[in-house]
Symmetry: C2
Subunit: 452 residues, 2 copies
């Protein structure tokens, strides 16, 4: 016991040199995004108002690997390779024969995986002369990461924070400001998209996206940055899975049996599992790849696979994805990062193709697992990440029944130190734990445009 390692670190030289593009290896290509007016596939020009050319190229590339620019790798070195931990104390408490690992993205400057894409996005905008980025933030993780990345490249960062989050989590706003960003409560009076709602409206990620996109489209020196959903964002996150594969080998594992992560917009989960999917498609490993959603916002498990808007106002291209309807406002569960009506088209595609699975959990079970994780592993997980932990615990307990020595890999997308209000609610038994009702689902799906 005494000499068994609990963490697997890599050298700076083992930071991936390339991001991995799963599109190159898929049996069928994902359906293209459509222009909201013409319903024709969008081309690079349609995106030029919002994104710099390198990111647009990454959005549509079919190359298997995209080189990570050296200035980005230099910044990655601050916290990457992120550690892979063996959860030995949790295993002991669960009395399971499973070997549980967690890839800890909470060690990043912003406390989550979001920094992996914030840095290259800020970098590519910066070398194109952009001085100003706009974005939205729900839980606040993405706004924090982008504010940090903008500080490094001496750019301004304007963040529209979902109203309900802004009102209840002042520390998140302070953290964004500490990194030099500016925070607006969404819906705001600064945009047409925001003015459409009454003052004090709790907002949604869809509304906040509309506001940030509107502002970016109007100014020459300003572009927009999205923290999830799009192909280039998922691409940047593949450093997680690439490192995890290498670390598992160093831990003496020939592969994983289960790789589990939470899915909100999909980038954390995709970044973790796409390199595993490559190995699976190549026949090298056969891991079960499992996305976990909250029962209150079960996009992959109960949504429909259709073209829908990425935002509430209908400003974005139409994306073929699992959706609950673009004007769906989920109940105020604590995992703000999982309260999105849609799901990354690329992830939706591989789920629809049967390559990747999804399930949903109630948040009370997730917080119970998170507490056990904190008291054994010493890490307070983000409420989002607690979904992956709870599902991994189910699998580990099932191994206890069957005696299987499975290798379980958890994507720990971030720490929960800025979400202690959620833990307080759970500890005080004040947690509201509802699942999405059939009526609400039917009503929300009715707003999805009819596109064959």
């Amino acid at each position: 016991m005494a000499d068994e390692p609990v963490k697997y670190l890599l050298d700076d030289s083992e930071i991936p040199t390339h991001w991995y593009n799963v599109v190159a290896d898929l049996p069928t290509p994902p359906p293209p995004p459509l222009h909201p007016g013409t319903h024709q596939p969008v081309g690079p020009d349609d995106l030029a108002a919002l994104f710099p050319p390198e990111l647009i190229a990454q959005e549509v590339t079919t190359e298997r690997y995209v080189e990570i620019p050296e200035p980005v790798r230099e910044i990655y070195r601050q916290w990457r390779p992120s550690p892979l931990f063996r959860a030995r104390r949790l295993e002991r408490v669960l009395d399971t024969p499973a070997r549980i690992y967690y890839k800890h993205e909470g060690v990043s400057p912003a406390g989550s995986h979001k920094t992996n894409t914030a840095v290259p996005q800020a970098y590519y905008n910066s070398i194109n002369g952009i001085r100003h980025l706009t974005t939205e933030t729900g839980a606040g993780q993405w706004g924090t990461a982008l504010a940090f990345a903008c500080a490094l490249f001496d750019m301004q960062c304007d963040v529209w924070q979902v109203g309900a989050s802004f009102d209840t989590k002042p520390a998140r706003r302070t953290l964004i400001e500490t990194f030099g960003g500016t925070v607006y409560r969404s819906p705001s009076l600064l945009t047409e998209a925001g003015k459409a709602f009454e003052e004090g409206h709790p907002g949604s990620l869809g509304i906040a996206i509309s506001e940030a996109v509107e502002v970016a489209a109007q100014r020459d020196d300003t572009k927009y940055a999205l923290g999830s959903v799009l192909n280039h964002v998922l691409l940047h996150q593949t450093v997680i899975g690439e490192e995890a594969l290498l670390q598992l080998r160093k831990a003496g594992e020939t592969g994983a049996d289960l790789v589990v992560g939470c899915a909100g917009g999909g980038s954390n989960f995709a970044g973790l599992i796409f390199p595993f999917l490559r190995e699976k498609l190549a026949g090298n490993q056969s891991p079960r790849l499992l996305a976990v959603e909250p029962a209150a916002c079960p996009t992959l498990t109960r949504g429909e696979y259709r073209y829908d808007f990425g935002d509430t106002a209908g400003l974005t291209p139409l994306l073929k994805m699992y959706t609950l309807g673009h004007d769906f406002v989920p109940s105020p569960i604590h995992a703000g990062g999982l309260r999105y009506h849609g799901m990354a088209p690329l992830l939706s595609h591989v789920v629809h193709e049967g390559l990747v699975e999804a399930t949903s959990l109630h948040q009370s079970e997730c917080f119970d697992a998170a507490l056990q994780f904190a008291r054994t592993e010493g890490v307070v997980p983000a409420p989002e990440s607690s979904h992956a932990i709870a599902q991994a615990r189910r699998a580990a307990l099932s191994c206890k029944e069957t005696g299987q020595e499975q290798v379980i890999v958890i994507g720990l997308s971030g720490h929960g130190l800025l979400e202690l209000g959620a833990y307080e609610s759970y500890l005080a038994d004040r947690l509201i734990d509802d699942a999405l009702s059939e009526e609400a689902l039917t009503s929300a799906l009715a707003a999805v445009p009819a596109i064959s």
Copy 2:
């Protein structure tokens, strides 16, 4: 630039095997603690009600090295060796020829150096059949660390949190509870020491210590744990300096010119600098060792070197130390961990002997430096740690004037993610920034007992 490392990690095998006891190398021994009644040196028996025998032995040992028990090293492996970072981006922004390093203790499960001593203290109590530890917490870092350590050894942890901190920092209480601890607002009605104060009193570290000590002394299965000040606590923290010495060598440095840390009770600073002091006394290096205090609680810089109580009620032994008077209540500055009237006797001794220096800073300068640090290095420092950063910045800017390529090592005692309220005050220009007045100092010192 591209290939220059920014972090220096060590293998698990390079975690120190022994704690370093500076007493063995000092030219003169530190004065002993005195019994509060008899004014005679306290013996091990006097401490037996509060501490297990191993900790009492460590408190009085003159051995140079104390072996770290394997179960403690096993837990240390979760986050130790902690990284040493080269602050290259900060150097660039400051345009200094100095090479600035920071030893990052904020990576620990509790977010600060406190875990280094919480784990061995819980361990030694645990192997002595103790099921329950009491303690106080000011900023909350220590209570968090001890709650985490107790969770690992299946012990209960009761924390008296200074009232002002309890009232304004609910997240800290939640974090302690997340790790399984119980939090009481101090002064409480559970103790005689607490009942002496009116309801709603803002409390102080001295009062909270009195309460925790009182409860521990009354119960057989319960002992007390202190997060700073005592010799054994400083001893446990020496892993910081031992690792830093090794990491500096890996970074190609032959030594440090300045090692700077914040000093509240003294354990973080002592843990960092005692191994450097050993090298200095042995003639291997000649670093300047500099403690930084807040101007509002300048114990080393303006206190007197006298015997005084460690707590407010006078329950502890009399300690020869720099003190502002045991009933001194500092103004509510944000670095709660630096609001202590006294200073570790061992650290006081080496300062009095002229081996170590001290200075004080206003908190506004510290927050300004902390903001710059966050925006370059991506780490939001604890308000305590910001004192070390601000002093290091002064030194680095002075190197810019002189052209000296000094090696500066900062002790980053913890992250500030649970102290964002302090950053909010600073950003909103609502920070009260007073220094201790002469009148208040004179009045506080009048309460120090007259002992020759």
